[in-house]
């Protein structure tokens, strides 16, 4: 067996040494974007090449959606894209992992062109690490005008009542850290990062009151949960209203037709008072990998893909809300109901940058327990456990 082993491994070794290497003049870059964006990105890449015809680019497109960017990048940074899009809640982790290149070239131009919130979202410890791409990674309320009036859409209780009267439901994915936070943050809870560690006070008195509100909401017969597929499948049919983001605007518009409406999140009852639901305000950013062979060229590509012209294109083709100030002020964007609702909600929104990876699962766990109406443990215990898990390690 020993002999066998050795012979086998020597063979393997020869193979190892035979790594082929090719020399090529073209500037090889890889770009990641989500599945739906592929066609649009291809178009943008072509025009980028045309604009930089003095150099030969070999730009490969890879399919990795923004939500997966961090995980997929870190799986093998060397094989990852040179330029990739990600939601801004991943930026702290990515910077800590040494994944991103600082933006230094044309920094002033970029800072000037985009809304302050987007720049802030792309900045870590005073350095700009990414190019703002969209300002629509947040959520708000869609509703069916034939069931819920504009006035009723201002308060969660009124919405539930109206929906119940019509035998329909109000949708919110409470078992999801992203959405459930709107209660805790609305009640004034804190979710911050100190020394690279997550800090949360969701288990204090305010947090408990928020938890009570969540309990009441999820216990309501007119409450329905699930993922996007439930909302897009049921709205107009069994669902009268639902919390979601701009990416669902087209599907929901298609189903509701003339009854389509969108607005900021409603108020909810906290300790007997009406309090505005908060939310996470997210931006999608485009970053350059710190391991890229061609940093300047990759930066040029990232900058190009997020410039005014291409943000407008994103809005026109995919309905994505721009972070570029000029595009944001254009008439078409201003008239878009979903983006208007998002802009309204932005006044009550928190930065998603202050959320680390450890937050999501415990928050989801709390939401799941509430949705299952499992009250075997009291709320304070659940909150304590949740915060312990969020702040663990």
């Amino acid at each position: 067996m020993k002999k066998l082993l050795s012979l086998a491994l020597v063979l393997g070794l020869v193979l190892t040494m035979a790594i082929p290497s090719f020399a090529d003049d073209a500037i090889k870059l890889k770009l990641w974007g989500s599945q739906e964006d592929q066609a649009m990105l291809q178009e943008m890449v072509e025009s980028f090449k045309a604009a930089h015809s003095d150099e030969t680019f070999d730009i490969e497109l890879g399919v990795v959606g923004e939500p997966d960017a961090r995980a997929k990048y870190l799986e093998d940074p060397e094989a990852a894209a040179d330029v990739f899009a990600f939601p801004n809640d991943q930026i702290v982790d990515l910077v800590n992992a040494g994944a991103l290149y600082e933006v230094t070239i044309n920094k002033d131009v970029i800072v000037e062109a985009n809304v302050a919130g987007a720049i802030e979202a792309a900045t870590v410890d005073g350095e700009l690490y990414a190019y703002p791409m969209t300002a629509d990674n947040g959520y708000f309320m869609y509703y069916d005008k034939s069931v819920i009036s504009e006035e009723q859409a201002k308060s969660l209780d009124a919405m539930l009542e109206a929906a119940a009267d019509a035998g329909k439901k109000v949708f919110m994915d409470v078992s999801n850290g992203w959405y459930i936070a709107s209660f805790f943050l609305g009640a004034g809870g804190k979710l911050t990062v100190e020394d690279g560690k997550q800090i949360s006070d969701f288990n204090n008195e305010k947090g408990l009151a928020a938890a009570e509100a969540i309990k009441a909401f999820t216990a309501d017969d007119a409450f329905i949960t699930g993922d996007d597929a439930i909302l897009t499948g049921g709205i107009g049919d069994t669902i009268a209203a639902g919390v979601s983001g701009a990416w669902n605007a087209n599907a929901i518009k298609e189903k509701l037709g003339d009854n389509y409406a969108a607005t900021k999140l409603p108020t909810f009852t906290l300790d007997g008072e009406q309090v505005q639901m908060s939310s996470f305000a997210g931006f999608k950013l485009m970053g350059v990998s710190s391991l890229t062979e061609y940093p300047e060229e990759a930066m040029a590509l990232a900058e190009y893909l997020t410039n005014e012209e291409n943000q407008l294109k994103r809005f026109e083709l995919r309905g994505m809300g721009p972070s570029n100030i000029k595009v944001g002020q254009s008439e078409a964007v201003q008239e878009n109901e979903a983006l208007a609702a998002l802009a309204d909600q932005a006044n009550y929104a928190y930065s998603q940058k202050e959320v680390l990876g450890n937050y999501w699962t415990p928050a989801e766990a709390f939401g799941t327990t509430m949705e299952a109406r499992d009250y075997s443990k009291n709320l304070q215990t659940l909150l304590d456990e949740m915060v312990a898990a969020i702040t663990a390690q």
Binding site: M1, K2, K3, L4, L5, S6, L7, A8, L9, V10, L11, G12, L13, V14, T16, M17, A71, L74, P77, E78, D93, N96, A97, G98, A99, Y101, E102, T104, I105, S175, G196, D221, I224, T225, G226, I230, G233, G234, S290, L291, P295, E296, M299, G357, N358, T361, P362, E364, A365, F366, T368, T369, E371, A372, D374, L383, E385, A388, A389, A392
Partner: protein, 463 residues
Amino acid sequence: MTRTALKQRKKKTGPGWISQLITMFREGDLKTRLGFLIMGFGSFMRGQIIKGLLFLTSQAIMVWYVLGFASQYLSKLDTLGDIGMQRVWSGERQNFVRTPGDNSLLILLFSVMSIMLFIAFIALWHSSIRSGYKAQKLLENKKRLPSFSDDIKSMLNDRFHFTLMSLPSLMVIAFTILPTIFMILIAFTNFDSKHQPPGNMFTWVGFENFSNLFGANPLIANTFSKILGWTMVWAVIATVTNYLFGMLLAIFINNKHIKLKAMWRTIFVITIAVPQFVSLMLMSQILHQEGPLNALLKQFGFIQQSIPFITDINNARLTVLSVNLWVGIPYTMLITSGILMNIPKDLYESASIDGASPLKMFVYITLPYMLFITTPYLITAFVGNINNFNVIFLLTRGGPLVTEYYQAGKTDLLVTWLYRLTVEKQDYSLASTIGIFVFFITAGLSLLVFNLSGSTRREEEFQ
């Protein structure tokens, strides 16, 4: 000294191959002794030219490999890297210039690979010396040396096992053993989301992960013990129910009055043929809060509110067990139906003359017979259920999540928990510690059963 004498020595002294080396050095002539330095020398100088050259080539490759590749990784094995990613401002480019630092993962992986290669090389070295020594002895005894073609021929007969095993072994070593050793070593490092390439390095931390798992970190330790408990409960129930119901189904179909046996069997076989990820994803859609089953029940008016099949803790556990039946029964049916037909008929005949009921016959004849024959299968199934990733992952993803667990839910098995830890949390070191634990349970159980059970004890019985 003859070969048998060598063998006897081997039994007396410690590691046989070292004493063998000593003997060969002591008794070898100059050619054999030079073979200690120049591989294949002993064979080459005695006319076994091809063999000698092959040994020499392998030595050359090894030297080239160590100097050109392995040394850069092996030298950093003690710390797993110490130079982080560098950045220097370049005024000319108006940009930072980055140079990647040490990659702990590659250092560890290639070090393990190099050490394994080195061990293999030692073995090769040893066999090259022995080959020279054997040639010397044969010549001393005035016997003919085996030519290269003789060696090849023996590969098809006396050493046929060598021929048959080499390629499969290479595959297993490269794709299973090496990766497994690597992952086991990860358990002794702090490889997690805060210590991973490209920006950061990880290093050795000894048994820290193990102590976290067994109590030092109450959150993780508590999660671990609870999930371990459920994993065992799940594995026992899933195995037993699948076995019993699968056998019952086989008995139903095998009933001599049932017609169209092939058709019935085929119906159940179809569900095996549909890939598990399809049928299980389908099941999770069907059982979804707003899925067709709830829709149907509401339509009939049995229920007003949807039944939370997979979001309520107890329902979810019941659901995964039931769906596992749906997935597993056809398999058990297929496997047991062949054996059922082999049960001696006279046992049943005499029992029915005594007036035994079908239930009694099942309990006193069928079950004991089947248990006796299928113990190895049962254990394999049990081990399979401990690691039953698909059913849990595709159906509930481990949920419903609970706040008292660390990154886990109530239907999570150890294996799905560590999937979440690696894929979502990049907490590789903790996951690999759990992996080692699972490995010990399953491997221990399998070794025990396979070495004690009839299948190995009776493997010679047809000789």
